[in-house]
């Protein structure tokens, strides 16, 4: 089965985008867009341009672009999961659950603002066979409390329980979001831990890059944008066993400025992050470092699950960039601005 997955990952990795592919996308006319996207394996996005029944991506429906990007990711993940079993399968399935967590957040915000279920429902990302929530039923919850109770009785009870307690104490939506995100990534790190012994150092590197980047960006954001006290910032970060350990994160959270934090990072990151002006820049640079590592992993004979995970990381990076191009075109931005966005693509999927 691993040889099948390895072959599949190798075939898929031929679809990853290079800089010149984005040039082609930037230059393509609207009529050529469907073909250009399809040639690079983005069939879900191409369908948005070729199906006259549906609103064309980039013309009037940015939300459907988001949903199509996720649908594309889910389609490819579904194929990669097929030959897997046990911890590896659980890990990749959980990896897709972050889209469901995004749905949970959308539902909670919708209920906070009293949004109608009919308008809330189309904003939720269809999860297909990965879906474990009954969207229809959840949108019909009367308020946030009822929704949280229902969620707590469902498959994401572990993620939601802590968030509900935090929300009940403060009624602050920020606490809710932060608790959901942290609980999700804690769950991911736990699942990765059980897989690391068989998935090899490449996998640990991929997870390390992911969790360290999340922790660093969250730390900077919570500490210096939201001005939260260091202890609370530390509490909101993901439990980590990678380069930025708990002790290191406590030291960093106690520092007084972003520059001081960056100056205390490991040497490799410090060099790469020198001169980075803001938090999106930090995200972008860290993302770039992670992508370099993922490319290396993809080219090695690492275990199949590790290569599959590396591919998914790179593919999502591509998709974020494609989204930047399509949004830029939709907004009629100059090509130079879109190129600048391509260098940064700071938005996280979650």
């Amino acid at each position: 089965m691993s040889s099948y997955l390895n072959t599949r990952v190798s075939l898929y990795s031929g679809r990853l985008w290079h800089a010149e592919d984005f040039d082609v996308l930037l230059r393509a006319s609207d009529d050529e867009m469907a073909n250009t996207l399809a040639e690079r394996g983005l069939l879900q996005l191409a369908a948005g341009f070729s199906n006259p029944e549906q609103p064309a991506i980039g013309s009037n429906d940015p939300l459907s672009l988001e949903q199509r990007i996720i649908a594309q990711t889910l389609d490819e993940t579904r194929v990669l999961i097929r030959p897997l079993s046990g911890a590896a399968r659980n890990f990749l399935i959980y990896w897709t659950a972050r889209f469901e967590v995004t749905n949970v957040k959308t539902l909670l915000r919708g209920k906070m603002t009293g949004e109608r279920s009919a308008s809330l429902l189309p904003r939720l990302t269809p999860m297909g066979s990965f879906g474990r929530l009954d969207h229809q039923e959840l949108t019909l919850a009367e308020d946030v409390s009822e929704l949280l109770r229902r969620l707590e009785a469902g498959p994401y009870a572990t993620i939601v329980r802590q968030a509900r307690r935090a929300f009940e104490q403060s009624h602050d939506p920020f606490h809710l979001d932060a608790a959901l995100d942290r609980a999700y990534y804690d769950g991911l790190a736990q699942r990765a831990h059980s897989l690391e012994s068989c998935a090899g150092p490449g996998f640990r590197g991929l997870m390390g890059n992911l969790i360290d980047r999340i922790n660093l960006v969250w730390l900077l954001r919570y500490r210096f944008n939201y001005n939260l006290p260091p202890a609370q910032v530390y509490f909101l970060l993901v439990g980590s066993r990678y380069s930025l350990t708990g002790a290191r994160l406590r030291e960093l959270a106690a520092l007084g400025s972003p520059e001081a934090v960056l100056a205390e990072l490991p040497l490799e990151w410090r060099t790469r992050l020198s001169g980075v002006p803001d938090i999106p820049g930090v995200f972008s640079t860290m993302d770039h470092i992670a992508a370099e590592h993922a490319v290396k992993v993809l080219r090695t004979d690492a275990p199949a699950i590790t290569r599959a995970f590396a591919y998914l990381i790179l593919r999502e990076r591509d998709l974020r960039a494609v989204r930047a191009v399509l949004r830029g075109r939709h907004l009629g931005l100059p090509v130079a601005d879109i190129r600048l966005a391509l260098q940064r693509t700071p938005q996280e999927v979650m």
Binding site: E137, L140, E142, Q162, A166, Q232, Y234, F235
Partner: protein
């Protein structure tokens, strides 16, 4: 019974104000399956373009909300009586439905407040229990609580609880504020702890604790000075909670009395609104004062439908009826009517899939073959009798499946008579046919022969299905069509002739092989024609798929050897038990025999039931039954409130 009832597509054009009633009438009619407007043919071909709006979308939205609120309210009230529909009841209009929804929201909000308050009280009670346990531990600690919790000291001390899985993180985070956490109790998923740190950093700690789900224990003043008074204080708190709980119960009771009768009426109106709301899911089109519904009805019911509509709408409608077009064949639902005795087997077929419209329905051959295979593999008068008895005893619990069990038991008994086997004993009755243990080769030959017959049947059915679906080339030339059948029969006869089987004595061996070669050449030619790509790829695809044809057909045939293997296994298992029992005393002997028979019935019976199902699914259904059909789901009036 062997294929779906012929359906026609209808498009019903009417006044938009009468759409709820039209949907209601169609639900009462009982055989209308809502469909889409995707096909543009017939006299109302331009309808989708003329009626671009979705007038029932708001109706559905209001219904969904009302239905959800009603379900929750009924859950609280515990009312699950069936609804009685007056014959002249009309469906509510959109405005009525929205008004009803608004009222249900008010009632549910009031009820929710009571419900949440009740939950809070329950939570408080649990908390008091925990507090009682905790305080008894504090007493034993001999700590001066007054001193500890003094609000003017430099030290800020909090006593409370937090989720156990967050303790490590909280401790680490609090260490950054020079605050210590000391756990002194663990109850369920909560830990109880004392948190102590400098009062100057209390604000930092407060935000963190809120995030961590910390719950402060409100230690009363008197407890701080006189811990022995804790019991009295706790008792008074508990009494107070019970009084509050009583008040909440009364509020819910009042709500129930106040709204009960109208709630019954709401149930009726929500149920009457369901048909249009359900139809709106797949498509109700409209514009201005017009609305249209589309769907499927049995061809033989069209006249009855017209009569119904005439009586109800007196000509204020337009009905377009047409046959399904070939390109929408996959969307046409399958309506198959089964006799009562066959219905218990239908779920077993549908767990594999629903037959496409026009496809051969496998329920009848499934039922017959499944029972035959089960009986052949588990032939024993005694064991079959036990299965029959248990099925009858637990008929109420098993529901329709009891009939499957009873039938399997009877067939098992019949084969028991043929094999001369009763509770594994082979020397009590003379076999009417043969004893598998004494004729293993013959039994294996019969099983393979049955497999050949079964596969021939599946190939014929597949060829027929393909022909009906318009895939005539596949029906004739493909490996699962007539060409496959020719190859299979030729090769099977050739192999049987080589093995010296008497059944093919009259057929020259060379003729059989020639037939097989002709069959495989036709298949290869068809695969070549179907394959796309370069020359190399076409050669590869043709070679592999043709080879696969032969391998599949014969490996599937050999699968049927398991029928014989299990019939032998049944006897062998009984022999093993008899051997074990023979060495024991009289009591041990009969105990072993009884226990062994229980094991045979439970373990082997279960395995045989699964194996028979597996043979049907993989050697049978997969050959001719795509299982991707759409089930006919008519609009109906629901007499029970439930989830949509």
């Amino acid at each position: 019974m062997l294929r779906a009832e012929p359906l026609v597509k209808i498009q019903l054009l009417m006044l938009a104000s009468e759409a709820p009633d039209a949907a209601l009438e169609l639900a009462r009619f009982g055989v209308f399956n809502p469909g889409t407007f995707n096909d543009q043919s017939g006299s109302l071909a331009a309808l989708p373009d003329l009626l671009p709006d979705s007038p029932a979308a708001l109706y559905r939205e209001a219904w969904l909300e009302a239905e959800s609120r009603l379900s929750k309210l009924l859950e609280q009230c515990g009312d699950s009586r069936a609804i009685e529909f007056p014959s002249d009841a009309a469906a509510p209009s959109l405005i009525d439905l929205q008004e009803l929804n608004g009222w249900l929201k008010e009632v549910w909000t009031a009820c929710l407040a009571c419900h949440e308050s009740d939950e809070r009280l329950q939570d408080e009670k649990k908390h008091l229990d925990a507090l009682e346990e905790t305080l008894s531990k504090l007493e034993r600690l001999n700590v001066d609580l007054a001193q500890l919790l003094h609000s003017n000291s430099l030290l800020s001390v909090n006593i409370g609880s937090l989720p156990a899985n967050g303790l490590k993180r909280v401790s680490e985070a609090l260490s950054m504020t020079s605050t210590l956490v000391s756990q002194f109790d663990h109850i369920g998923d909560q830990i109880f702890a004392v948190i102590a740190g400098p009062r100057t950093r209390q604000d930092e700690v407060r935000g963190l604790l809120a995030q961590a789900g910390w719950r402060e224990l409100a230690v009363p003043e008197e407890l701080r000075t006189h811990p022995q008074e804790a019991r009295n204080w706790l008792e008074s708190e508990r009494k107070q909670l019970e009084e509050q709980s009583g008040v909440e119960c009364k509020v819910i009771g009042v709500l129930r009395d106040q709204f009960g009768p109208r709630l019954q009426e709401a149930r009726l109106r929500v149920a009457l609104a369901r048909p249009l709301a359900e139809a709106a899911l797949v498509g109700v089109r409209g514009k201005g004062g017009l609305a249209a519904l589309a769907g499927w009805v049995p061809r033989r019911q069209v006249h009855a439908l017209r009569t119904l509509l005439d009586n109800r709408f007196r000509g204020r409608y337009l009905l377009d009826v047409r046959e399904p077009s070939p390109h929408e064949a996959a969307d046409v639902p399958s309506l198959v009517r089964y006799p009562a005795w066959l219905q218990p087997f239908v779920p077993l077929v549908k767990s594999y899939g629903v037959p496409r419209y026009g496809e051969f329905d496998p329920a009848l051959p499934f039922a017959l073959t499944y029972l035959l295979l089960f009986g052949a593999m588990f032939g024993d008068i005694g064991h079959g009798g036990v299965i029959l008895l248990l099925s009858l005893l637990f008929a109420r619990k098993l529901g329709r499946m009891a009939l499957v069990g009873a039938a399997a038991g009877v067939v098992s008994m019949l084969f028991g008579v043929l094999y001369g086997s009763i509770f594994g004993y082979e020397d009590i009755l003379e076999p009417v046919w043969l004893s598998p243990l004494h004729n293993p080769v013959y039994v294996l030959s019969v099983a393979v022969g049955f497999g050949v017959g079964f596969i021939v049947f599946t190939l014929l059915v597949n060829a027929r299905n393909k022909w009906v679906a318009g895939h005539r080339a596949e029906a004739i030339f493909d490996s699962t069509g007539i060409a496959g059948l020719v190859f299979y029969l030729g090769a099977a006869a050739g192999l049987a002739s080589v093995a010296g089987a008497s059944i093919v004595a009259g057929i020259p061996q060379n003729t059989a092989w020639m037939v097989a070669i002709v069959g495989i050449i036709v298949i290869a030619g068809f695969k070549w024609y179907e394959a796309t790509g370069g020359l190399g790829e076409r050669i590869l695809v043709t070679a592999i798929e043709t080879l696969e044809t032969g391998i599949n057909l014969f490996s599937n045939t050999l699968s049927f050897m398991r029928v014989a293997a299990f019939s032998l296994n049944h006897v062998a298992l009984a022999l093993a038990i008899f051997t074990l029992a023979a060495g024991l005393s009289v009591a041990g002997h009969w105990f072993t025999i009884a226990l062994g028979n229980v094991v045979i019935i439970v373990l082997e019976g279960g395995i045989v039931a699964i194996q028979a199902l597996r043979l049907m699914y993989y050697e049978g259904f997969s050959r001719f039954f795509s299982g991707d059909g759409v089930e006919f789901v008519p609009l109906r009036l629901e007499t029970q409130a439930g989830k949509h």
